[in-house]
Amino acid sequence: MSLTALISHISRGSFHDGAGIRTVVYFMGCGLRCRWCHNPETFSQKPLIMHLPAKCMHCGSCVEVCPDRHVVEGDRLTLLREGCTLCGSCTEICPTGALTLCGEFMTVEQVLAMIRKDRHYYDESGGGVTLSGGECLLQDKFCAELLEQCKEEGIHTAIETALFVPPPSVESVLPFVDHVFADVKLPDGERHRQWTGQDNTLILSNLARVIASGVSVTVRIPLIPSVNDSLEDMDAFASLLSRVGASDVELLRYNYMAEGKYDAVGIPYVSFGKGTQSDRTMAALAQRLSEGAEGLTVHYR
């Protein structure tokens, strides 16, 4: 049987995850639990049921096929996830897509078929494919095979990773990757554990290794209000980034619109505010960061 990976979805025509027009493949499963993550559906390493109440037409079909796990009170459906075997009967019967199964096991060939559909757009714009997630490198064998295939076909490749994976996983894909987006959340190990559930030692050593390999790297820092978006934080990031030899950094604004997704997958949501950093704040942070480390290009959108 050929190699498969668990993919949450594939998004086409993306502008913002590398050069040109790109197809982004989202892998499921991640070792970190960043409290602000805006893709909580990719935490799990197995498929899960997404429930979108806005699409529900209260027809009761799901209750009919699986009365044990679906409870309707008034016009509100509650999904009892405990003990769910993911048999798919409710998502199959749901007429509107209010209940869907997130996560599909796909072969390399299946994913490639999707990627190839936009081949002419990559050629025109210098775009290609970006593997993201979750943590794509948890499924490193698959990634390596997929990326190798893309390279063979002349498609530009990029990965977006938090690097919280064993070093050999990173190394196995590097020969086939044109560009790496490496996420760095917090400079301080203890705070990193507090906010993501894990220490950052492994991440930083992987990062140093990736940069040393000579591949083109952009470090991405998601700015979370009051967690890592002060000027002092920028100083700490600056010293860390010069230590690992990073030369290109992108600051990402806080995405405050993920609550719906948390609700959909039944994971408690933590809000870091109802808005995002202003242009002025972003400019100030970027300037502070670039001043702190020599030869560092900082950009943001």
Binding site: R12, H16, I21, T96, R301
Partner: protein, 870 residues
């Protein structure tokens, strides 16, 4: 009541407290009557108008830097709080914030307009006049109608032929009209086409009719004669209707297949000929052919029209000379002198300069619109027509680029005054494969952006087109946000046209009429929007074995067998194609009957269309070098989606039998769950899924084959045109529920755009789906509107959008139009139309003010999927 005077009064007294009662009395009206009159004219109540006007003036003072307190009391607000509240309601923010935002906005505009010439004061004034002074139109609106009718009637009474009568009608307008000149205009001429009264209806002798006649200075004798005319001149269709078969009438009544032969006001003529030869030269050409072919009414009519051309120029020249003598302002005097000099030369004699070329073109166009009204009579490749004159003047040093820009603006203010869809086109490819983009192409894009009210402009591009030009055109889409310009792919269009027997050289000259209809300017009669079909109906006829599901009494379709006989998908599909052929046949046969029943003569169009003078045949009597009929193919996306649903649920999964499915559709989806699952669980066109996209492609391909067969049957040339105009609403209204999840009466998809809201795989997927359609066979062009988020067209994304368009075009995308609005704005505009007066959206092949659309059409547009950046 002259509402305009009330508005002026309000403007003069805006700083005072204005009481409705007092003002009504001042103008001598009861309060009720005053309110109604005002509302009818202004579209808002008097008090709303005052509030509106007052807050806008206050905002200007705020921008000037005055304090909030000063401004509040200056405009008679009782308290600062009250002013703030009013401000917040109107602008969505407080005055202070407004000032900050305006500053940002100003900087943005400065940045973005740096590379462009600003509108000159002249253009700003003319633009304002064209946009806001509707009053002025009323003074001249009936002139074309009255004088044309009188001239034509006199000719008919004198026993002249119909074609001569039309020519006499046009000559009479040229001789009798009032020459309208707005101070500051560099290009003059008015086509009296706007407004209800420009057409047929001028109330007979009642106060409104009399007031209109008074305003238009129509003499007592003329108005009596006009009202005494026999209205029979206008009706020509009854006899055609009588010749139709029952099936044809059914097809017509349920909007399945409608065939006409209107061949009117959808043209692009050879205006270059007027620029080059003048009507004087054309007259001599006509006389030459007359000598060879023999004298005829056709030639007499055309000669009369040349004289109408002389009269038009002379009339304006005389008026300009008169004004130049009496005008006190020196700069206006110079303008009049320039206009007079130009009008003495053109359109009678060849244009010698860029200004004369523009003036000559505008006069030539006016005469065309006098023949059969404005509607979609279009201009064509303006940058190509004018470039030789522009270049010569610039080389001679008598014209600067900036002056050329101003003259374009002057022409465009004329062309897009609240008129119908008069399309022009820029860019393109030369027959030798090089890019035809020139300096004027860029200047015309600049004018479009600066004037900000242009509704119809198309851009032609191909493999040879500079990316810089395409990027600039897309930038204008983003800046103007009114869906202009729109885009046509030469590489595919030329192929499609040459396959229809049009010479390569001529195919490279193609342009668009009105919306998207393809025409070879000055060489073809395309009979645009002649045949209109709803192919989704084919499925209804299969399920009803020939009967319509929507109107069970109608047996419009062919008998394709009982449902039990259609036991495989292939058999069903074959039956659908049989019905498609039936619909096309019913449409084409109607076209043929209309064509044979009467030939509506078009002497002016004949004069400026290659072939008609030479052969001595009318434009509508197959005189043109290329004579073809465009058959619109509607409902293809819905039909493909529906077939994909049937394939899955009936033939692959066996969830329903065909009779069960039919019952569901006839009952209009009694179980919403079924409808939802049909929408969600089968592939839909527009998502780059071959299972369904290839069905759509095959239907169009087969329809093209069928039209080739029809061409032999009926002896006419048919061009396929997968385009619905805005009739997707009407087609939907007369269609039963369809398996794609469309409810009974709901609009069908626009042209080949995906069904609204059913595309969710992003922009590249939509383009890929559309690119799979055989556009190289549909010479009438495919048409597609893509809804895009404004952010998609911001500066940082423009390169990528350009790349997407180029890549999609290489794959086979033929035409695309972008609608740049977000759903929230549109819904807001639906609720508060007064705040969004200048908001325009892409409706069909043209843009229209959102406020002017029916709620149904507004909802259709809101329902289309918005493509944002990911």
């Amino acid at each position: 009541m002259p509402v305009f005077d009330v508005m002026n009064y309000v403007h003069d007294h805006i700083r005072e407290k204005l009481s409705l009662t007092e003002i009504a009395a001042l103008f001598g009206y009861s309060k009720w009557h005053f309110c109604k009159k005002f509302h009818d004219f202004a579209g808002m109540t008097f008090l709303e108008y005052v509030r509106h006007h007052r807050i806008q003036l206050a905002a200007i003072d705020i921008l000037r830097g005055d304090t909030v307190t000063d401004v509040a009391f200056r405009y008679s607000y009782d308290t600062v709080g009250g002013f703030n509240k009013a401000f917040l309601t109107h602008y969505g923010c407080l005055p202070r914030k407004y000032r900050e935002r305006a500053e940002e906005c100003r900087l943005y505009y400065e940045r973005r307009r740096m590379s462009m010439y600003p509108l000159t004061d002249r253009c700003l004034i003319l633009r304002d006049e064209a946009m806001n002074r509707k009053e002025a139109l009323l003074e001249y609106c009936v002139q074309r109608n009255v004088y044309f009718s009188l001239g034509r009637a006199a000719a008919m009474e004198a026993g002249k032929s119909r074609t001569e009568a039309i020519a006499d009608g046009i000559l009479r307008i040229a001789e009798s009209m009032t020459p309208v000149m707005i101070p500051g205009e560099l290009v003059v001429g008015f086509n009296y086409g706007d407004g209800t009264y420009g057409e047929y209806v001028i109330p007979n002798n009642d106060p409104v009719g009399r007031e209109l006649m008074d305003k238009n200075h129509i003499s007592e004798a003329d108005r009596e004669a006009f009202w005494g005319l026999n209205p029979v001149y206008y009706g020509e269709t009854d006899e055609i209707r009588a010749s139709l078969t029952t099936e044809e009438i059914w097809a017509l009544q349920e909007w399945a297949g409608i065939g006409r032969c209107i061949c009117a006001n959808h043209t692009v003529l050879g205006y270059e000929k007027v620029l080059k030869l003048g009507f004087d030269g054309i007259l001599r050409e006509i006389e030459g052919y007359e000598a060879v072919n023999g004298e005829s009414a056709h030639y007499r009519a055309m000669k009369t029209l040349c004289r109408a051309g002389f009269a038009l120029g002379e009339k304006y020249a005389a008026e300009a000379e008169r004004r130049a003598e009496t005008e006190e302002d020196a700069s206006l005097r110079a303008d009049y002198a320039a206009v007079a000099a130009a009008c003495r030369q053109v359109p009678r004699y060849p244009a010698r300069s860029y200004l004369e070329a523009v003036q000559s073109l505008w006069f030539a166009h006016i005469l065309n619109t006098w023949e059969d009204r404005i509607n979609a009579n279009s201009i064509g490749r303006l940058d190509q027509i004018l470039y030789p004159y522009y270049k010569a003047d610039v080389d001679k040093g008598i014209l600067t680029r900036e002056q050329a820009f101003e003259i374009i603006c002057c022409l465009w203010i004329k062309l897009y005054r609240d008129y119908d869809v008069q399309q022009s086109c820029v860019g393109g490819t030369n027959p030798d494969g090089t890019s035809a983009v020139n300096d004027l192409s860029y200047l015309m894009l600049d004018a479009t952006e600066q004037l900000d009210f242009i509704r119809c402009l198309s851009v032609r591009y191909g493999a040879a087109t500079e990316k810089k030009f395409l990027r600039r055109a897309l930038e204008v889409v983003g800046h103007v946000q009114k869906g202009v310009p729109f885009f046509f792919n030469d590489d595919i269009m030329v192929k499609a046209l040459t396959e229809q027997g049009i010479s390569r050289e001529d195919a490279f000259g193609y342009t668009q009429i009105g919306c998207v209809e393809t025409v070879i300017p000055g060489k073809s009669n395309p009979h645009a929007v002649t045949g209109e079909t709803n192919l989704l109906k084919a499925l209804e006829y299969v399920l009803g074995n020939g009967h319509s599901l929507c109107f069970p009494d109608f047996k419009t379709g062919a008998e394709t067998g009982e449902l039990s006989e259609l036991d495989t998908y292939d058999k069903l599909y074959a039956a659908v194609l049989t019905q498609v052929e039936r619909i096309l046949d019913l449409t084409c046969s109607q076209v043929k009957k209309c064509r044979d029943a009467c030939i509506a003569p078009k002497p002016y169009k004949s004069m400026l269309t290659e072939g008609c003078i030479e052969r001595g045949l009318d434009f509508n009597d197959a005189g043109a070098t290329y004579d073809y009929y465009q058959i619109m193919l509607g409902g293809v996306p819905n039909l493909a989606d529906s077939l994909a649903v049937i394939k899955k649920f009936v033939y692959d999964d066996g969830t329903y039998t065909l009779p069960e499915l039919k019952a569901i559709l006839v009952a209009d989806f009694p179980d919403e769950r079924v409808r939802q699952s049909f929408i969600r669980k089968a592939p839909k066109f527009g998502n780059d899924l071959d299972e369904v996209d290839l069905i759509a492609a095959d239907i169009i391909d087969k329809a093209c084959d069928m039209l080739e067969r029809m061409a032999e049957t009926y002896g006419l040339s048919f061009h396929a045109q997968p385009f619905t105009f805005l009739w997707m609403i009407d087609h939907g209204r007369t269609s039963a529920a369809s398996p794609d999840g469309r409810r009974m009466g709901e609009p069908i998809a626009y042209s080949v755009s995906p069904m609204q809201g059913r595309d969710f795989n992003g922009l590249t997927a939509v383009f890929n789906s559309i690119a799979k359609l055989p556009a190289h066979r549909t010479a009438g062009t495919t048409s597609a509107i893509v809804e895009a988020d404004p952010k998609l067209f911001t500066d940082e994304n423009l390169d990528i959008i350009t790349d997407i368009l180029v890549a999609a075009s290489k794959k086979g995308l033929c035409n695309v139009q972008f609608n740049i609005t977000d759903a929230e704005t549109l819904m807001e505009a639906q609720k508060h139309p007064e705040k969004y007066a200048n908001l325009a959206v892409r409706v069909s092949g043209f843009s229209q003010k959102f406020n002017l659309l029916t709620p149904e059409l507004q909802n259709h547009i809101i329902g289309r999927t918005k493509h944002a950046c990911l």
